[in-house]
């Protein structure tokens, strides 16, 4: 039997906590680490008789996400009740959306969006907490401060193909949402959460394999590791001739183990039905205009602009667009007179950032004006690359203006002419053997000669001009 090549098929379900002032269906302020149960009211505690009322800003934010991922915004959408019992679910139903969500379809990068909908977050259940035990058994304690926080759920089509892909795409989504200014999108704080539906199929096969749902991967690295581990687990099962079982799984990043969450329990039957306590959401032109006006340039759009109007390479465009700590720095530096965007991009990504370590460029001593001016000098060949690195070292260490450093250190590029010609002559004389090899056609031997010139000129000579002179002088 020939070995089957497996293709992973992965869909992601992302929950984003919205940074509104109040909860989804009541006027309690959102909780931020206050003492337990100090941010509750009859509505978010599910008291008898209490009724939900939709937070207008949560709708606006949901629309912003929908626009940002190219979704179709529904003219009319409704809320449904998703019924299940759990101590962190006070009404024993979650108000969510089902077959008439706020937004459907769309695409971000290379992954299609299935739907975007609004719902409410669960409360926090502290396991094994409590000073006591109930009849000798372990107790958990519920804190309802988080309960009812507005959530946007984003469901992708199964277009993700690997753990790395999942991680890269989620990073793109995070930056997109961060740009909208509607969420902290911090995985470690739970304001961005991601579950993955994972299946595998023989490459070339159309039909999907049985999928499992992988939960609670609370960092980008764990998402990548978890998905990888689950793919490996499924391949091992199939190759042993067994079948993957549809179930909900938990990835333990410490051990790398994947365990089943609800093996005993019956399949869920959420008994969705339209929430009778709420009326439909009908997107008005006013709501739509407001959302469109609030929509900033998104990372994907920015990357496109960097490529098409600034002429950056695709890789550089992506790098600069999806990294919020460097995007504004790049834009400001590239706006300086004479600074070419591609030169700014190269020197920012390849030279400045590695020199700064943990420090963001904006927090360094190198101002955007200085860096732009520096790029202008490099672009105009007023300093050689070698000299430029020295100038950059000084900028990082002390700040100041690049022109002043060049002036003070005499690092300006030499004009061609007699002085350089003389130095090249001297270098050829000092490296007879190398000169002989070059004459014989071996240009690689030019290294020692260029090295000699650079030493003599403290790096101010232009490498191209030196090579030209060498060839001329050796009659090539």
């Amino acid at each position: 039997m020939s070995k089957v090549e497996w293709e992973p098929v992965i869909g992601l379900e992302i929950h984003v906590q919205l940074a509104t002032n109040t909860k989804m269906f009541c006027s309690c302020a959102l909780g931020f680490g206050e003492p337990p149960n100090t941010r509750t009211c009859p509505v978010c505690l599910g008291l008898p008789g209490a009724l939900p009322v939709v937070n207008a800003r949560a709708i606006d934010y949901g629309l912003l996400i929908g626009l940002a991922v190219g979704s179709k915004l529904a003219d009319r959408s409704i809320f449904h009740r998703k019924n299940y019992f759990y101590p962190d679910n006070p009404k024993a139903y979650q108000i969510s959306q089902y077959d008439e969500p706020l937004c459907s379809g769309g695409q971000l990068g290379d992954v299609r969006i299935h739907r975007v909908h609004l719902e409410e977050d669960a409360a926090k259940l502290v396991h094994g907490g409590g000073s006591g035990r109930i009849h000798g058994s372990a107790t958990s304690v519920v804190d309802f401060n988080r309960g009812g926080t507005p959530l946007v759920e984003i469901v992708t089509e199964p277009d993700v193909r690997s753990g790395e892909h999942a991680r890269a795409w989620l990073t793109m989504l995070r930056e997109t949402v961060r740009q909208l200014g509607i969420s902290d999108v911090d995985m470690s704080q739970g304001s961005l959460r991601c579950d993955a539906n994972v299946s595998i199929r023989p490459k070339g096969e159309e039909r999907f394999g049985t999928k499992t749902e992988l939960k609670n991967m609370n960092s980008f690295a764990f998402l990548e590791q978890g998905v990888k581990a689950e793919i490996a687990r499924q391949i091992a099962i199939k190759e042993a001739g067994d079948e993957v079982v549809q179930e909900t799984l938990h990835f333990d990043p410490r051990t790398g183990a994947i365990t089943s969450l609800r093996s005993k329990e019956e399949a869920h039957d959420y008994r969705y039905f339209p929430e009778p306590d709420l009326v439909p959401i009908a997107i008005t032109s006013e709501m739509l205009e407001r959302a469109k006006a609030a929509l900033p340039e998104l990372p994907t759009q920015r990357a496109e602009r960097y490529e098409s109007s600034l002429g950056l390479s695709a890789d550089n465009a992506r790098d600069l667009s999806f990294r919020p700590e460097i995007t504004p720095y790049f834009e400001a530096a590239a706006a300086v007179d004479g600074a070419e965007p591609q030169v700014v991009a190269n020197w920012l990504l390849n030279e400045l950032i590695p020199r700064l370590g943990e420090t963001a460029p904006a927090d360094s001593r190198v101002s955007t004006d200085a860096f732009g001016a520096f790029a202008a000098l490099v672009g105009a060949k007023k300093i050689t690359p070698t000299a430029a690195k020295q100038v950059l070292d000084r900028l990082v260490a002390e700040g100041g203006s690049p022109e002043a450093i060049v002036e003070a250190e005499g690092l300006g590029a030499m004009e061609g002419g007699d002085e350089l010609s003389g130095i090249v002559d001297a270098a050829l004389a000092a490296n007879e053997a190398a000169a002989e090899k070059i004459r014989g056609g071996n240009m690689k031997a030019i290294g020692p000669i260029i090295g000699h010139v650079m030493r003599e000129t403290k790096g101010r000579a232009d490498g191209g001009e030196v090579t030209r002179l060498v060839r001329e002088k050796l009659g090539l």
Binding site: P42, L45, G46, L47, P48, G49, A50, L51, P52, V53, V54, R81, N83, F85, P87, P90, K91, A92, Y93, I134, H135, G136, S137, V142, D269, R271, Y272, F273, P276, D277, L278, V279
Partner: protein, 475 residues
């Protein structure tokens, strides 16, 4: 004034007397409080020990008059148990909007009235706090689910009371106890703070001795509430009724709800009111509501489905009872809910859960919603030709305690004439039309959405002509 004289006054008359200084709100309150405290009908589940220290000012619209409040309205600091053991002793931290509105208008709560558990029932026999007796005959039920409110008003234990109506829970007990009950247009009164049975149907409404009192109480209940998304601005001021005649009024009598299944004595009383209506200038015509006979079936899918979800929050975690001795989460849930809910509530939770469960939704819930559309259309069409649709409120007079408890569907048939109107979300009133076998009969009149002023006016004209005497029940 003597306590006896005070009790003989309608609420509107009592307000006048208080305003005129002929009596005081405190005297009226105490006269009723003593009667309510001595209640032998089990109409009240809570009555305070004394007159409140501070009563509303006499220049408020309701002048401090006492009010009976159905148990399921949340009242801050007062028991609010919805007739259920699972909420025994529960005192909520907030007050229902409708109660708050009435308090703002000068009502003072006299007590909480008994009801069928979670408003599920038509006889008040489903209360965890015991059945309520009908003041016309102590061996009979008062109807339900607002049976405590109805019996209390009929027996003169309180001038008026709040009830709720999901499929007939105000109108049917009003009919069986010889008082007036109004189920308002869905959305006209806030549901915030009403312990929910079926959210898309529940409406608060007044139960009172006569049509004028009904209008006066209703006037101060209505209005959009920012805490209830389904509440609406009432489009006009609610007026006290004045009409003496029914000239030009067209009454439609649906064949489906005025023949088969209605007791002869009830039909006789109904027909006498139709004759009276003609005398007062109305035209009366037989007509059809083709889908009305299916209303009960649709209702017994939709209401239990919503209830199964609404009652899921009673899980022993945040309030109410928790079964003793459970060690694990699952048995805490299942045992608490087993011990806390009565048989009818369990039945409806089961029915509703079943109707919503995987594989059955379309056949039950989906179809029931379609039937609801057809029923609403039937009424819509009818109101092109008629001002009001009239029927007997209930097919029988008050029946014996225990007579129908063994057959759920027989009990459900009590609401045969009221449920179609509930599904359409339109308003309807029940007024006493007379007695049959010594027991009160109700006459129901339904109109288009927000036609309460016109309904109250027409009901007032009929009331004058009928001249029903309810004083026997207050004796």
């Amino acid at each position: 004034m003597s306590a006896e004289d005070l009790i003989a006054l309608t609420a509107a008359q009592a307000v006048e007397k208080i305003r005129a200084g002929e009596t005081s709100a405190a005297d009226v309150y105490e006269a009723y409080r003593q009667r309510a405290a001595a209640d032998e009908l089990n109409a009240f589940v809570y009555v305070p020990d004394a007159v409140p220290d501070e009563l509303p000012a006499t220049d408020t619209p309701l002048a401090g008059l006492p009010l009976g409040v159905k148990d399921l309205f949340c009242t801050e600091g007062l028991p609010s148990q919805s007739g259920s053991k699972i909420l025994e002793g529960y005192r909520p931290p907030y007050t229902a909007t409708v109660v708050r509105n009435l308090q703002d208008a000068g009502a003072s709560i006299l007590g909480k009235t008994n009801q069928d558990e979670f408003a599920m029932g038509s006889s008040n026999e489903n209360s965890a706090y015991g059945p309520v007796q009908n003041p016309w005959d102590r061996t009979k039920v008062p109807g339900g689910s607002s049976g405590g409110s109805a019996a209390a008003v009929a027996a003169g234990l309180v001038p008026w009371a709040l009830g709720t109506d999901t499929g007939g829970s105000i109108r049917q007990p009003a009919a069986l106890t010889g008082i007036v009950g109004l189920k308002p247009t869905y959305g006209s009164c806030s549901r915030y703070g009403m312990i929910a049975f079926a959210s898309s149907l529940d409406q608060a409404g007044p139960l009172a001795r006569d049509v004028t009192d009904t209008a006066l109480l209703f006037k101060h209940m209505v209005g959009r509430d920012h805490c209830d998304s389904t509440s609406l601005d009432y489009p006009e001021e609610v007026k006290l009724p004045t009409a003496q005649r029914l000239d030009g009024i067209r009454l439609g009598v649906p064949e489906e709800l005025s023949g088969e299944g209605i007791e002869p004595g009830v039909l006789e009383s109904f027909n006498r009111v139709l004759d009276l209506a003609r005398e007062l200038g109305a035209t009366v015509e037989s007509m059809k509501l083709p889908h009305a006979p299916h209303a009960l079936s649709a209702y017994y899918v939709l209401a239990p489905a919503e209830a199964s979800s609404n009652l899921a929050r009673f899980d022993g975690v945040r309030y109410g009872m928790r079964a003793e001795g459970t060690r694990d989460l699952l048995s805490m849930y299942t045992k608490t809910r087993h011990d806390g809910f009565g048989p009818e509530v369990k039945r409806r939770i089961m029915l509703g859960t079943y109707a919503l469960s995987a594989g059955y939704y379309d056949a039950y819930y989906g179809r029931a919603q379609q039937v609801r559309t057809k029923i609403a259309e039937d009424f819509h069409t009818a109101f092109e030709r008629f001002d009001f649709i009239v029927t007997p409120t209930a097919p029988t007079v008050a029946f014996g305690l225990g007579a129908k408890t063994d057959d759920p569907w027989a009990m459900y048939l009590n609401d045969f004439c009221t449920v179609p109107i509930s599904l359409a979300g339109i308003p309807a009133i029940s007024i006493p039309s007379g007695l049959s076998e010594g027991l009160p009969v109700g006459f129901q009149m339904a109109g288009p959405a927000f036609s309460e002023n016109r309904i109250l006016d027409a009901a007032f004209a009929l009331e004058q002509g009928i001249g029903f005497d309810g004083s026997k029940a207050r004796a």
